[in-house]
């Protein structure tokens, strides 16, 4: 294979290569038109002082000052730590729940639409409103969670104003909302596994668990990785649900990195510092993704 690349290219390979770049063109044209300039601006801003509430200070070049400031900013450290916690809980959480939902939804139902709808609903509910609905569920007086506790004879809890409980409630909401995305990707993967594999396994006397371990999981691996990486990227950017449920409270104890960046840029209008934080966040995401890509690089010519 690698020898073939070093060979002089045949006319067929040349034309394939030309076709390949032509096929990439639409995607990259779109990216260039929409995000190239914003990303360049973001990086440029991160090396300048740019505080819109203090325009008389101008926008001088400050080198790495914004980045150095981030290193000593306690609130930034806390926000990073909270974000890491959300990732550690909600990514595996969503993948496990999503896998469960996908397996359940892949059963041969007589009527399929209620199941499909059940799978899609959490997702079709705009994020902002999902957060607000869960906030209502965990309210002290009018919330369903405390109604259940009261019904069972327990004291109601201050879900959203106790840091650990608020974290739990937010994780639950995120997992509920994002597991349907995972389930959808995995369900598509399940549907491409040929039935004959299971029939053959059945003939060989394999148990359900063995079939799951030996056929389903390996065949689903690519889909699971897709779900994992995207859940991770979106988890790094966790914003809407904690924003709607606690607005970062009590104090700053549920504030994520994305929320802090949002506050810094949109509320405080400190574009310079906000951009530096955004670039730092990008670097972390990129590191995680590159580890993932290295891990899954496979030989395209298998089968």
């Amino acid at each position: 294979m690698s020898d073939a690349i070093r060979h002089k290219l045949t006319p067929l390979e040349k034309s394939e290569r030309r076709l390949g770049f032509a096929m990439l063109a639409p995607a990259f044209l779109l990216l260039a038109a929409v995000v190239l300039y914003p990303i360049a601006e973001l990086i440029r801003n991160s090396f300048h002082f740019n505080h819109l509430a203090q325009p008389w200070m101008g926008t001088p070049f400050v080198g790495f000052e914004n980045y150095v400031k981030a290193l000593g900013d306690d609130r930034f450290h806390e926000a990073v730590w909270h974000t890491v916690l959300y990732i550690l809980v909600t990514v595996p959480g969503a993948v496990v729940v999503g896998l469960g939902l996908a397996l359940l939804a892949n059963k041969p139902f007589a009527i399929k639409w209620p199941v499909r709808l059940g799978l899609l609903l959490p997702w079709a509910l705009p994020l902002v409103f999902a957060g607000l609905i869960f906030r209502w569920f965990f309210e002290y007086n009018q919330g369903v969670a405390n109604a259940i506790l009261r019904g069972l004879g327990f004291e109601p809890l201050n879900w959203l104003t106790t840091p650990s409980l608020a974290f739990f409630a937010i994780c639950l909401a995120i997992i509920w909302k994002s597991s349907s995305f995972v389930a959808l990707v995995l369900l598509a993967g399940l549907q491409t596994i040929p039935k004959s594999f299971y029939e053959a396994a059945e003939v060989d006397g394999a148990t359900k668990w063995q079939q799951f371990r030996e056929i389903t999981l390996p065949m689903l691996r690519p889909a699971i990785f897709v779900a994992l990486i995207f859940r991770t990227i979106t988890a790094i950017q966790t914003f809407d649900i904690p924003y709607a449920m606690t607005n970062g409270g009590p104090g700053n104890s549920t504030e994520t990195l994305a929320m802090y960046i949002h506050k810094t840029t949109v509320d405080f209008l400190d574009l310079g510092y906000g951009s530096a934080l955004a670039v730092l966040m990008f670097i972390v995401s990129a590191l995680i993704t590159s580890i993932y890509l290295r891990h899954t690089r496979r030989d395209p010519g298998r089968h």
Binding site: L52, A53, Q54, P55, W56, E139, Y140, N141, N158, L160, T161, T162, P163, T246, N247, G248, G249, P250, G251, N252, S253, K263, V266, D267, F268, L269, L271
Partner: protein, 424 residues
């Protein structure tokens, strides 16, 4: 025959020419102004007002653009538009806490030149707090559109039933609430609520008792958090919580929950803004019609009652292409005539003292008679270009204290360090 024809042709020609002339005249004079308002500032009433303006000024067309409903959503949109120096908006309704920020960012066109010789006379007519809020470093940044302030709402029926007078001090409020709570023994009834969630209103939850103790957040431009007055708010809210007058979930209460609880009959006293009385009185599902009273907020002593100022202002965008016309409209929107119109149609508190006494206004809002002294005594939250940061520090610390995740000392120490970096 020929004559008639010619005459008809002539008249037709004349008509056509006349139409064409009128058309060009219209086209020349037609200026389109776009005004931005939030969903809560009654855009329907704003439309009625500008319709009247357009009838009187046929050369001007005014479009009302309704943005995100909350102050935060509006700010997200406006920050983007204005940071891009976009000319799409000519006039913008801004919160009373924003003029200093807008002046610093140079987003608002100073209106002094457009007011000309009348400047001082025009500004003198407004309530003093609004005059002060809209003049930043000697420049008129915006003109007041309507006023607002925090009041104490109470259940008239419950207070009368248990022989409690509307409280003038926090101690009276505590005693009254305890008495009613004990006598009623209703599991869902709560004594007192104010905003405690990490939202803008919670800034006032801190400031009102501090003002009540006779101090302000800053003194001569320097942070003033070292004295006893800075601890007063923490002591007050801890005391009311201890006495079980405030509910255990105060830290999750946003502004509107106070109204909802009041309207559902679950609350004796509520500290909140001017929009509540009208809703409690006129909403179809309100259970407390004619049972709600409004008085000034209590103080630590009966003679020192303080409250937070609110309300909305009209600013002319510094990037507008029709600043002169926009300034004219801004002056109209900030006139006594419009103030009265808003009071009658939307129960918006007027920005002119004389409008409070107007018969039509009082007919629509009987409680406005008591509202004037409150609005006159209302105070401004700190005036600084970096107000959003100041607000954020105060509300998150107040919220953390109410939730019990920080002690008063920890919250105060954090406020001191972080606010200290801003008020250097």
């Amino acid at each position: 025959m020929t004559i008639r024809l010619t005459r008809r042709m002539l008249s037709l020609f004349g008509l056509a020419a006349g139409l064409a002339l009128a058309g060009t005249a219209l086209a020349q004079a037609q200026t389109t102004l776009r005004i931005f308002t939030g969903g809560q500032q009654r855009p329907d009433v704003m439309r009625q007002i500008v319709d009247g303006y357009m009838q009187r000024n046929p050369g001007v067309k005014v479009e009302v653009e309704v943005g995100g409903a909350t102050s935060e959503q509006q700010q997200q949109y406006l920050n983007t538009v204005l940071a891009s120096k976009d000319s799409a908006l000519d006039l913008i309704l801004i919160d009373v806490i924003r003029p200093a920020q807008w002046a610093a960012a140079q987003w608002a066109e100073p209106l002094d030149a457009y007011l000309g010789a009348e400047r001082d006379a025009v500004m003198a007519r407004y309530l003093p707090a609004y005059r002060a809020a809209n003049i930043v470093n000697g420049k008129v940044i915006a003109l007041p559109y309507f006023a607002d302030a925090q009041f104490l709402y109470y259940r008239k029926d419950l207070l009368e039933k248990h022989g409690v007078a509307p409280p003038k001090t926090w101690d009276e409020l505590k005693a009254g609430a305890q008495r009613i709570l004990a006598a009623e023994n209703a599991p869902n009834l709560r004594g007192f609520e104010t905003a405690g969630a990490p939202i803008e209103g919670t800034v006032c939850t801190y400031l009102v008792p501090m003002w009540g103790a006779g101090e302000d957040l800053t003194k001569d431009g320097k942070l003033n958090l070292s004295g006893d007055a800075a601890k007063k708010p923490f002591q007050l809210w801890a005391d009311l919580k201890e006495a079980k007058v405030t509910p255990p979930n105060l830290a999750e209460i946003p502004t509107d929950r106070i109204r909802q609880n009041l309207q559902a009959g679950n609350l004796i006293f509520g500290m909140t803004w001017g929009y509540v009385w009208n809703r409690a009185q006129n909403d179809a599902d309100s259970t407390v019609k004619d049972k709600i009273g409004v008085v000034p907020l209590p103080g630590f002593t009966a003679d020192r009652q303080s409250t937070c100022i609110g309300g909305w202002q009209v600013a002319v965008s510094a990037f507008s292409k029709n600043k002169a016309e926009a300034a004219k409209l801004a002056r109209y929107l900030s006139s006594p005539e419009v103030s009265k119109q808003q009071a009658v149609l939307a129960s918006h508190l007027p920005v002119f003292a004389e409008v409070y006494g107007d018969a039509d206004v009082l007919k629509a809002n009987p409680w406005f008679a008591q509202a004037l002294p409150v609005v006159q005594a209302a105070r401004s939250r700190p005036v600084t270009p970096r107000y959003t940061e100041v607000s954020e520090i105060m509300r998150t610390n107040m919220n953390a204290f109410l939730a019990g995740t920080k002690t008063a000392d920890q919250a105060l120490a954090d406020m001191n360090t972080r606010l200290g970096a801003i008020f250097r």
